[in-house]
C-alpha cells in the first residue's frame, strides 16, 4: 500500500515536470499542444475514492498551472475529467464489473477498450482547457480544430507510453 502510494506520488511529480520541461516545447504550428500529464488521472486505480480522485486531479492541474502562469485553467479542466471518470468507467464496464487487482490499462483490458476510455476523457480535458484559454466563441472552429488535433496527439502519446513505461 505504502509502495503504491509512493509510486503514485513519484509519477505525479514526474508527470508535472515532464509536462513543463519536455512537452511544453512540442508545438506543431501552434495547433498541437499535447497535455500528456492527464495520463495520471486516467491510470488511477478503480478503487480510488471520489474525494481523492477530485483533489489529486485538482492539485495536478494546479501545479501545472503554477508553472504555466495560467492559474485555474488546468485545474478546472482536470477537476472536470476527474468528475467524468467514474461515469465513463461505468459505461465501458465489462459485463461482470472490474475484477479487483486490475488497473485501467491496455495490459488488462485491451487496446480498443483503453482507446475508447482515454480518448473521451482526453477530449473532454482539452475541450474545457482550450475554451477556457480562449474564453470566447468567436474563433470557435479554429479552437475546435486545435482540440481535435491535440487530443489525437496526446492519445497517441498515452497509448505509446503504455507499451514502454506503464507496462503493468
Amino acid at each position: 500500500m505504502i509502495k503504491f502510494l509512493l509510486n503514485n506520488i513519484f509519477s505525479f511529480v514526474l508527470l508535472v515536470l515532464l509536462q513543463v520541461i519536455v512537452f511544453d516545447h512540442i508545438q506543431f504550428s501552434g495547433l498541437i499542444n499535447p497535455y500528456f500529464y492527464v495520463i495520471f488521472i486516467l491510470l488511477l486505480p478503480f478503487e480510488t475514492p471520489g474525494w481523492l480522485l477530485l483533489l489529486s486531479s485538482f492539485f495536478l492541474g494546479f501545479f501545472v498551472d503554477v508553472f504555466y502562469h495560467t492559474l485555474g485553467m488546468h485545474s478546472s479542466a482536470c477537476t472536470f475529467i476527474a468528475f467524468l471518470r467514474p461515469a465513463v468507467l461505468k459505461v465501458f464496464a465489462p459485463r461482470d464489473g472490474y475484477e479487483p487487482g486490475t488497473l485501467p490499462r491496455i495490459h488488462f483490458f485491451g487496446l480498443t477498450w483503453f482507446l475508447k476510455y482515454s480518448l473521451i476523457l482526453i477530449l473532454a480535458h482539452h475541450f474545457v482547457l482550450f475554451y477556457i484559454e480562449m474564453f470566447r466563441f468567436s474563433d470557435f472552429f479554429i479552437t475546435f480544430f486545435k482540440v481535435i488535433l491535440s487530443t489525437m496527439f496526446t492519445g497517441f502519446l498515452v497509448v505509446i507510453s503504455q507499451y514502454f513505461i506503464f507496462r503493468r
Binding site: F58, L71, G72, S76, T79, F135
Partner: protein, 275 residues
C-alpha cells in the same frame, strides 16, 4: 435536517466537484488578465442593464411631474420662436452660409443612476459611444449645467457631476461678464462657490452666474446658479455663495452637448503649452 445531511452524503462526489470547479474558475478569473477583463465587462453590462430596468420603473412613476416640466419648457421655447418670427420673418429661409454654421449639437439622454450625497458624485446616462458620445462633452439640462462626460461605453456614459470636488467650471457674472471659477461646496447639493471675483466688481444678491465658453466644453451662457450671499475673504477677492440652479435630485433628462469646433480650438491653444 437529516434529509439534508443524507442528501449531502449521497451526493458528496458531485458537491465536492462543484466546489473545486467553482474555485478553479474563480482562480481563472482572478489571475488571468484576459478572463478578468471579460468578467469585469460582463458584470458591468449586467449592472447597467439592471439599473436601466429599475430606472424605467421609477421613470414611469414620476411621469406626471416630468410632463409638467416638459410642457413648461415647451411653452418657453414656443414663446422664443414667436419672438424670433416677429423680429425677422425672413429667418425661416435656409441660408447656405458657411460662417453661420451650427456650432453645437445636442443629444438627449436619460439619467439611469445619479448620486448627490457623496463628495465625488457621478451620473450614468443611457446613451453611449454608439450614439456619438465622447469624453469631455458637456452635459446640461434645461435648468443649467449638469456635468462633463468622463467616459463612454457602447451604450452607457459616465458623467462627472457638477457636484464633484474635482469639478471646476469657468463661470461669469451675467450682467457684467466678469469671470471666475465655479466649484461645488461639498456641503449639500444646492450650494456652490464662485471664486476669483475681484473686489472692485459690483455684485448683488440674486445675480445670475453662467458659463463662459472659454473651455470649449460648455456653450456660453448656460446657467449655473444665483448669488445668495457674499463676503470679503481677505485679500482681493470676494467669497461668493451660490444657489445651484439645477435641482439635481429630480433630474431625469439631460442634453449631451457636442461642440463641432472643439478640436479646432484645442489645436490652436495647444501651441501655448509647447512654450
Amino acid at each position: 435536517m437529516r434529509n439534508l445531511l443524507r442528501f449531502i452524503v449521497n451526493n458528496q462526489f458531485t458537491l465536492l466537484f462543484l466546489v473545486i470547479e467553482f474555485f478553479s474558475i474563480a482562480l481563472v478569473i482572478r489571475h488571468n488578465n484576459y478572463q478578468q477583463a471579460w468578467y469585469n465587462n460582463f458584470s458591468q453590462n449586467i449592472n447597467g442593464y439592471l439599473s436601466l430596468k429599475i430606472n424605467n420603473l421609477n421613470q414611469y412613476l414620476s411621469l406626471k411631474e416630468l410632463n409638467d416640466r416638459l410642457s413648461s419648457e415647451n411653452a418657453i421655447l414656443r414663446n422664443q420662436i414667436e419672438q424670433i418670427r416677429f423680429i425677422n420673418p425672413s429667418k425661416q429661409v435656409i441660408i447656405n452660409d458657411t460662417i453661420h454654421k451650427q456650432n453645437y449639437s445636442f443629444i438627449i439622454a436619460r439619467i439611469i443612476s445619479n448620486t448627490v450625497n457623496k463628495q465625488y458624485n457621478y451620473l450614468t446616462l443611457d446613451k453611449g459611444s454608439s450614439d456619438g458620445v465622447k469624453p469631455e462633452m458637456a452635459v446640461i439640462s434645461d435648468n443649467g449645467v449638469v456635468g462633463i462626460v468622463e467616459s463612454a461605453t457602447q451604450h452607457f456614459t459616465l458623467v462627472i457631476s457638477l457636484l464633484n470636488r474635482n469639478m471646476k467650471v469657468s463661470a461669469k457674472i451675467k450682467k457684467n461678464n466678469c469671470f471666475g471659477s465655479f466649484e461645488w461646496s461639498g456641503l449639500n447639493y444646492r450650494t456652490g462657490y464662485l471664486n476669483e471675483i475681484p473686489l472692485h466688481i459690483p455684485i448683488a444678491i440674486g445675480d445670475t452666474i453662467v458659463t463662459t465658453g472659454f473651455s470649449s466644453i460648455f456653450p456660453e451662457g448656460i446657467s449655473l446658479g444665483y448669488i445668495t450671499d457674499f463676503s470679503v475673504k481677505g485679500g482681493n477677492f470676494y467669497k461668493i455663495k451660490l444657489q445651484i440652479s439645477n435641482e439635481f435630485k429630480s433630474l431625469s433628462y439631460v442634453y449631451i452637448v457636442n461642440n463641432f469646433q472643439k478640436e479646432e480650438q484645442k489645436q490652436l491653444e495647444s501651441v501655448l503649452k509647447h512654450d
